[in-house]
Symmetry: C2
Subunit: 265 residues, 2 copies
């Protein structure tokens, strides 16, 4: 069980979401980042949980993830299921335990847990996933695809940034700024991921080539250059949202640039 | 998605766990029970989540639950998976949101969420489930079966009681007393459930007759009268644990009596 948990959580991923938590906390002056690392790990655990779930036979039935067999192919479907639930549970436990050690004042464990739960639930990641499941390919126009991915991917980017901002005891104006940044960054990240699936080799993506072939993606709807233009536009929005932060946002601007150049990261 | 959630959460079950939360909170003087109802619902959501998960094809592959088709048979396996994750997520969100409304002092959202997470994780419900999965029938002696069920069932009974006690701002001594009570009650409840599976009709249990036939249970290891004697012993322990509470524990004693008479409840 614990081997499956570690396998799921520690695969060679890009760690964009926990980096986002740490970068936001640092930009907004969290000071000691040690308890923020706990929040960042919790965000990555939720992400790892969602990958295990997505890959299951009843969902995408994926064979490869991050260049290795998916968790259910390595450990069996029953163990994969329990590992996913354990990761989600642990994420909430870690966030709750970290809360009293954060630079304090405005936000307690109730806000942190509440925001994380909202990002994951039927109004967030799970809601996006559910709409994806029940949409027939011919129903997937750009608007619906944006809804799906701003929930499936964007929500957890949002929570990652919010947790970082709360860890820094951020004022409302700064919290709103990084929230806008993170939502646009998340959607851009998803589009870049779609572009990579088309343009890069399976060795580079760590997924098997055919597994997403049937899927309606931004690249399918807009073509490669249209998808790239949309991603660039979203990243420009993301960076513009950071204006109230001034120089404090240097690392966040750099992160947006990295997301826009997946081939070089 | 929401229909599946409601179907999973609102099936005709016994609601022993949320009743336990409310009865403990009331016994220990929580006063206003309105926010405690939220905690009780969260406990039932976790339980409902675990049932959806247990029933999946990769786990017990159950056809009936609470007298109706299991969630994956009614809504498909993909929706069932998401519903289970949504229930677990919502449980944590509800507990966090309820915390500031509880009669306060000793316990904040961080303690409530931490205890719930501990009860569910690899040291609790999921750990018991994992050991159950990886145990071959010939390895299941009484000691291991007790370990499995004190985790699979006992842990959530424990958390149900702990949340109720925390809602009443309980002193450590009272918290420990209801914790001992709940652990013994949970294991006794599981044994009574095994007895029911053998003695009652599928109509009465709401499960299909054959689905647990292969399973090693307390009844298989001890026989009907041996299992009944063990359940009685555990219930006597449970009730004895309540001694520090004196008259305040009347409802909790009655609950133990109900658990010991499943045929009449």
């Amino acid at each position: 069980m614990h081997r499956a948990l570690l396998y799921a959580a520690l695969g060679p991923g890009k760690r964009v979401r926990p980096v986002l938590t740490l970068a936001v906390a640092d930009a907004l002056g969290a000071g000691d980042l040690e308890p923020v690392v706990d929040l960042a790990c919790a965000v990555e655990m939720v992400h790892a949980c969602s990958l295990v779930l997505d890959d299951l036979p009843a969902m995408d039935d994926a064979k490869l993830r991050r260049g290795r067999p998916t968790v259910h192919r390595e450990f069996g479907e029953d163990v994969a299921l329990l590992a996913a639930f354990a990761l989600l549970t642990r994420a909430f436990g870690v966030v709750a335990s970290a809360a009293p050690r954060l630079r304090g004042g405005r936000y307690g464990a109730e806000e942190l847990v509440h925001h994380l739960a909202a990002a994951i639930g039927t109004g967030g990641l799970i809601g996006g996933q559910a709409l994806d499941l029940e949409s027939r390919p011919e129903e997937l126009d750009l608007e619906r695809l944006e809804y799906i991915h701003s929930h499936k991917t964007g929500s957890l980017f949002l929570a990652a940034a919010e947790l970082g901002a709360m860890a820094a005891d951020a004022r409302r104006r700064d919290l709103d700024a990084v929230a806008r940044y993170a939502k646009n960054l998340g959607l851009a990240f998803q589009i870049e991921d779609d572009l990579l699936d088309v343009l890069a080799s399976p060795e580079a993506t760590g997924k098997d080539a055919g597994q997403d072939a049937e899927k309606v993606t931004f690249v399918k709807l807009l073509g490669v250059s249209g998808a790239r233009a949309l991603a660039d536009e979203l990243l420009a929005f993301a960076v513009a949202s950071l204006e109230p932060l001034g120089r404090r946002a240097t690392a966040l601007r750099a992160l947006a640039e990295l997301v826009g150049r997946p081939g070089r990261t």
